[in-house]
């Protein structure tokens, strides 16, 4: 493959990964806005879905930070599958109306959070599949490090720090909500 084509493919790959991380950061920000601005406490399975989204970001961040590796893609895919499993199970828990079981939180565009999570997980898996199918394997990514694309690399750095900050805020929030025991959606345990 010519050097020019290799570089274009590598650039598109990094741009694609950056866009994926930006979308996930947006989703996490929206979830936290709903929590802090509208007082919708996340349930334990909701928090696990956030962890899964952070896990997907972790794999992408390592690709920018330490150079491309298929292993990092594997980490992201593992957490995308975990997100799918948790969200499907949560949707099935609440799909049949019965006492004590209903979808938690308000609907966004008529769809509740666990169902959105299924859509997001499927979108992530499809996005990775499309990236591999259309933009190809990782040969050109190994040849062209992310640092050779300064703008994309700088944006990825800023976005990574933002995601790490979101993770830190979530950790503090979990400590306040759950303490060191089991999580409940009634109130913030440490603010009692």
């Amino acid at each position: 493959m010519r050097a020019g084509t290799t570089r274009i493919l590598a650039g598109l790959n990094y741009l694609y990964l950056l866009a994926m991380m930006a979308v996930i950061a947006g989703i996490l920000t929206t979830a936290m806005t709903l929590q802090y601005a509208y007082g919708e406490l996340p349930c334990p399975l909701c928090l696990l879905q956030r962890v899964a989204l952070f896990g997907v970001c972790f794999g992408i961040m390592l690709n920018f930070r330490n150079g491309f590796s298929s292993r990092n893609t594997g980490f992201s895919l593992l957490f995308a599958i975990f997100l799918l499993v948790v969200s499907v199970r949560q949707s099935l828990l609440d799909i049949y109306p019965r006492p004590g079981h209903e979808y938690i939180g308000s609907a966004v565009l008529g769809i509740h959070m666990p169902v959105w999570s299924i859509i997001i997980a499927l979108a992530l898996l499809i996005a990775y599949a499309l990236k591999l199918a259309v933009l190809g394997g990782d040969d050109h990514l190994r040849e062209a490090d992310a640092r050779t694309f300064p703008i994309i690399h700088r944006l990825a750095g800023i976005l990574s720090i933002y995601v790490i900050a979101l993770c830190l805020i979530n950790l503090v929030s979990v400590v306040v909500q759950c303490g060191f025991g089991q999580c409940h959606t009634f109130n913030y345990q440490l603010l009692q």
Binding site: L62, L92, L93, S160, L168
Partner: protein, 69 residues
């Protein structure tokens, strides 16, 4: 337990950023294992176990006992 999950994820990010990389991956693995354990704990019901009888159509028309899980 949820605190352990988020703390290990945060540590994975921090080690992923500053290194060493093996520590980041160890923390990520710890986070995934703790998450899986917590997920199984959360969905387990003393009455139904891991089953979900409310979505089995063979029970259609039969009264469902109230339960909280």
């Amino acid at each position: 337990m949820m605190v352990v999950v988020f703390a290990s994820m945060l540590l994975a990010f921090v080690f992923g950023w500053f290194g060493p990389r093996w520590m980041a991956i160890t923390m990520l693995a710890a986070c995934l294992i703790a998450s899986l354990g917590l997920f199984l704990f959360e969905v387990y019901s003393p009455e139904y176990g891991f089953r979900m009888p409310w979505i089995q159509t063979e029970l259609e028309g039969q009264p469902m006992p109230a339960q909280g899980s």
